[in-house]
Symmetry: D2
Subunit: 289 residues, 4 copies
Amino acid sequence: MKIGFIGLGQMGRGMAGRLLEAGYPLRVWNRSRAVAETFGATGAVVAERPNELLDSDVVITMLADDAAVEAVWIAPGMVAKVPASTLHLNMASVSLRMARRLTHLHRAAGTPYVSAPVFGRPSAAASGQLDIVAAGAGEAIARCVPLFETLGRGWFNAGPEPHRANIVKIARNFLLGTIIESLGEAFALVQKSGMDPAAFLDIITRTSMNAPAYKNYGRLILEKPAEATFTLKLGMKDVELALEAGNDTAVPLPLAALLRTQHLAAIAHGYGDKEWASLGNYIAERAGL
Amino acid sequence: MKIGFIGLGQMGRGMAGRLLEAGYPLRVWNRSRAVAETFGATGAVVAERPNELLDSDVVITMLADDAAVEAVWIAPGMVAKVPASTLHLNMASVSLRMARRLTHLHRAAGTPYVSAPVFGRPSAAASGQLDIVAAGAGEAIARCVPLFETLGRGWFNAGPEPHRANIVKIARNFLLGTIIESLGEAFALVQKSGMDPAAFLDIITRTSMNAPAYKNYGRLILEKPAEATFTLKLGMKDVELALEAGNDTAVPLPLAALLRTQHLAAIAHGYGDKEWASLGNYIAERAGL
Amino acid sequence: MKIGFIGLGQMGRGMAGRLLEAGYPLRVWNRSRAVAETFGATGAVVAERPNELLDSDVVITMLADDAAVEAVWIAPGMVAKVPASTLHLNMASVSLRMARRLTHLHRAAGTPYVSAPVFGRPSAAASGQLDIVAAGAGEAIARCVPLFETLGRGWFNAGPEPHRANIVKIARNFLLGTIIESLGEAFALVQKSGMDPAAFLDIITRTSMNAPAYKNYGRLILEKPAEATFTLKLGMKDVELALEAGNDTAVPLPLAALLRTQHLAAIAHGYGDKEWASLGNYIAERAGL
Amino acid sequence: MKIGFIGLGQMGRGMAGRLLEAGYPLRVWNRSRAVAETFGATGAVVAERPNELLDSDVVITMLADDAAVEAVWIAPGMVAKVPASTLHLNMASVSLRMARRLTHLHRAAGTPYVSAPVFGRPSAAASGQLDIVAAGAGEAIARCVPLFETLGRGWFNAGPEPHRANIVKIARNFLLGTIIESLGEAFALVQKSGMDPAAFLDIITRTSMNAPAYKNYGRLILEKPAEATFTLKLGMKDVELALEAGNDTAVPLPLAALLRTQHLAAIAHGYGDKEWASLGNYIAERAGL
């Protein structure tokens, strides 16, 4: 199976590397050519233009956001240029609106399209430990399964409508934001009563909140890492995706609205480029801690 | 070890029954005498007045709320009447303010006091599967350990200041409320895009939100049980405890404030006596679902 | 008409002084005796105990809050001691709950009761420029009209149920809080785009928001007076009164909930004893201004 | 002074009519030709294309939103086609972002640009009773003064930077939204305590909230007009403009975020095409009234 891979950001590089290791012939393209060249040294063919990848069996796009999809995939008319035998597998996190638009475009062109956003950070991408939520026509998904098994530790079939995978990703990342906000408030509350937040985190993650998300984000709030792997500004973008989806479907999301305000206040206080979990540190600061 | 047990509500009955089964000689008192009589049939001595229990080794109080503690324990001056050899073990959920007041009163009287609120529902209480957070002087806690081992599947030492156990309970129940609100919003969001909330719940609880709280409250939102084991009104009281504690310690809790508004709106729409998780059903209703 | 006046705080002193100037024979009582003595020098008779005022035609209470009403009027059983010919005119701002309780107590005792909270600051109290909202039985209100005309520039009859005057006061002060919050946000917004908030205030108060509340609170946000005549902490208490009333009557008040969080955050940042309008300054600070 | 007028919506028609009445030679263009033809019957010249208006002394644009400005003015390159002697007077409400973009484009082209959004409804537009906030270079504004005096009952100079007039309009309309929300909550609160909201409105608008905005929106909430002159959906767009501006300038606007959620919930309950003030009716419904 010949793979074309578009978008070698932090996540994309790890995923493409994993596919190479698994023996897939890989052609890659990246907007910044230097990154692609560096990656090419590992064995992938570096394309000059994204069009050169279109005769692959599967073209994976892992572009940063809607604007990048617009610029790289939609504006140049790639959907119309893709051969009917090539499957477009979009693994990036795009908006609900963009998810529906891509579905519509591929349907009109008669080309197979699978949306399969991933859960996980760059280290999980590089080690094949992502969680993948895929949606699209059954036979199209079936073609992607070997790739999912290479890239992820697990994958879920969200049904035939591609945008469903995206709404799952959007809603799940909204939940992550609520975990950070709620832990931030809980930590500030216990700390001002003399209780060590780390001990509190230990108690709740050994009982009813015994989940990776609480452990990881709780730890990040407490450790305040100097280097961010996922910035608060990016978290804000995820919150915006939830609000936009809620707007488009008339779902009031008061908690998402609150998250937006809190993120913006944190950004105004200099937390924008820190780790997402630093929202919890802003909350502590706001409580006078 | 002779035990006195005050407060045979849903939780108290289960806990007292568990102690009886474990062979502890038990005297009990309950405000409503009929409940105590029924319970007495299982082998406990039923007291006429709470004072009769004061010569126990440990007096456990499991009263409904601050007002009940005020009426049963504080107003009749029980703290002054307790012998110095009797330990008061308060396992109920009280406010931060009441927690500090009880600490202060027992300190002034020179009598040992341990605060040990529990996590879990009546079924967990009856089967010794509670999670217990205890705080108090080291030697006092040591005396309670056999009881914790009988009543719980695990227990945590939150340190020498009794009120710390209470702030842990308050902050943790606030987190439960945020989980319900956030799941309610996420369910409404995915459902309006055609994604089955149950399938969404399955995905998130098999990945980063793989925790009992998400599984249980998610299921309750979806199943809408006719009988409530913990009502939305009681959940509202927990939110109020968090807000009051935040107020007393100058910790702004925007998410708790939002929860309060949402609970109140749900109550205005008739959800007050339904299961706490029905907040999620109100959120769906508000989204026009 | 013989007047008894209980409560010589900032507002009470002004009002009592105004009544003296108007020629009413006045006996006064205040919890702190020194204040009463100072005031007595202006011509009022200073009582040793509040009971001594009960044979007046009208006893005006102007106590700080529910707790003061509880301590001075309810706990000592004043309602039962008041002669049937004495009218109790409560001009202080109490909670909806306390308003109903006083109504109930006076009804049970068969003594006339009028609730008449006031709008205005101490300077308005001293100069007879208050706005007064009165509620109570028609004949009882009729007896108070000369007093209202002495103390206020205008008065409103809110009907026969005394608590209605209180809910008007509570709802109106909630509106004042929303004006401060909204002006704070609007000022921060225009300022960060290079527009002078004072010029913005001038525009809106010369068009559709041409009201004293916008002019006064807008000016206070901009001028940041060193001395507070009504502190942010007192404003917080008014917000709490609204939330409590909403709680008791199942009215969700999301804006009041937001105000509470904002006040608390402002208090955590040291604004508690500044002017209420300094909430707007906290909002600017939160925006990084 | 020859005037070109682009955009004959409800507001534009009234304004253009007013200019005609005042004797200005007027050429008009509207996207929907039928509307322009109807209007032409009153004496204006109807253009086939907007370009035909560019040799006017002043071209007034009164387009519905950013998208319309983009489609009619920016995409066809009108800025580059405008002669240096023609002043572009944009009286519509656009986003802060669009305001800055138009400023930038006109500056680059060396053509005079004034931004002058208006306060008021269609009836005020038709009768010359608008309030106008203008910003732009001094000499450019000076050229517009006669027009402002014809169209408005008053106008304000917000300084040389055109976008300042827009941020004033955005912040002011955000304040209108807060007035509706706060009145809605206050009305629900007093009503559930037995107080007539109309009597409450009378009291507050005769005292500290004696402003047109409170009178008008309060009345609209109470009267629930069948026909909307400004819909809740349009109000939502104004709230979005405030949030977007806050986002772009890092100003957290918790109240605007709350407004957004409330509007969205009202839309989900069928209030979208009703009068903006019907948000207050949704709030009553949410309180179970």
